[in-house]
Assembly symmetry: C2
Homo-oligomer: 225 residues x 2
């Protein structure tokens, strides 16, 4: 087997992760989800990024409307204007129960279907927003579970998880993306559902700081704050 499945939300982190996969691996399939998120605009970004790289883009519908999270549906307020030092603490209301686990599980099945041996995911623990399903301990446990519970695993070819940006600061992610020529202007990170990025949610604030620290201008449109 060769090739990789890349979880592509359409945001900055997953786009730079895709750039690493395209650089380092032969066959790449990008995988996105329509799970009831408010920020469906990111799916358009994912399609544009996949088209930029000329890779197959699979969008899977998973209806999580029965789940509780401020990221899903009409209810719930996405936190905004939080000081950056607070963002990394605790588990925020934007936590979607088991979201990464569900996405990795579908990626696992897609790997087995297309003959890929690695899942790339743009998890990051530096500008960490408090999600338990982004840690190294979790990814190793997921690999062990996949080794025990899949055809490829029990046949001795367990599928691995690659997290190339795990230990990078947001500024380093921006720099790596720029160095590889990744189309950062096509990406979308805002948790809100607006035409322009809000500039105030946790995701926008971390992104803006990353571009500023890296010394690059963020090309996407922002609301006047």
């Amino acid at each position: 087997m060769s090739g990789a499945v890349v979880l592509l939300s359409g945001g900055l982190d997953s786009t730079v992760t895709l750039a690493f996969a395209v650089r380092d691996r032969g066959d790449v399939v990008a995988l996105s989800f329509r799970y009831g998120q408010k920020h469906t605009r990111e799916l358009g970004s994912a399609a544009a990024v996949a088209a930029h790289y000329g890779v197959r883009h699979v969008v899977v519908d998973v209806d999580l409307s029965s789940f509780s999270s401020s990221l899903i549906g009409e209810d719930g307020e996405v936190p905004s204007d939080r000081p950056l030092e607070e963002i990394g603490k605790g588990i925020p209301s934007t936590y979607v129960p088991a979201r990464n686990i569900i996405m990795l599980s579908v990626a696992l099945g897609l790997c087995e279907s297309v003959g890929a041996d690695t899942i790339y995911i743009g998890a990051n623990t530096v500008d960490y927003s408090g999600y338990p399903d982004c840690t190294g301990a979790f990814f190793r446990a997921f690999e062990a579970m996949a080794a025990a519970g899949t055809k490829t695993g029990v046949e001795g070819n367990p599928i691995k998880i690659a997290t190339p940006i795990q230990d990078m600061s947001k500024a380093d992610i921006v720099k790596a993306g720029k160095a590889m020529g990744a189309p950062l202007g096509l990406t979308w990170s805002c948790y809100g559902g607006g035409e322009k990025a809000c500039g105030r949610c946790d995701s926008c604030r971390l992104r803006l700081k990353g571009f500023a620290d890296a010394g690059y201008e963020d090309e996407i449109p922002y609301e006047a704050v």
Copy 2:
């Protein structure tokens, strides 16, 4: 936390598993999936079984049409007329890559959303059809992954998996269902898409033998074979 989420396909095994959960736990939510399976009739059975017990029934759409399996879509032949001694050997074409992993992952998120602490799944390793995602080793690895990667897990209340029929023969499952008054006549096990159960696929053959060995008549309609 209390309560349980029960994976309910609408088949014999998951219905008897639900009967155990209803007997042993307070709050029960039944969870079914529309994943592109040929045998959508089982979803009607799941709804009827959930209604029989008066439990909340959540149906989640997960579109796995990009996956390879003879159980999904129009292509592929479901194996039939296999000798019973062959059914337990190897991984059959009806294996859906990572299916139980995906379903357990969604169940995990639903547990966190509704405040349940246990997932019930009707896995069985006696009349085993060769699926790697039905073994005890896999379920323990899944629990370890969930403990590492969920809010409840990192907060010290990891979600557990219960497999009450894991070590029972199909005949014992039928007997247990009958003893608890489970509505076995509402269930559907056939892998085919017909009006009546085919009686020839692996699932039908195991079911028919189970009823025969238990000394009960199977009330559902079968094609004349």
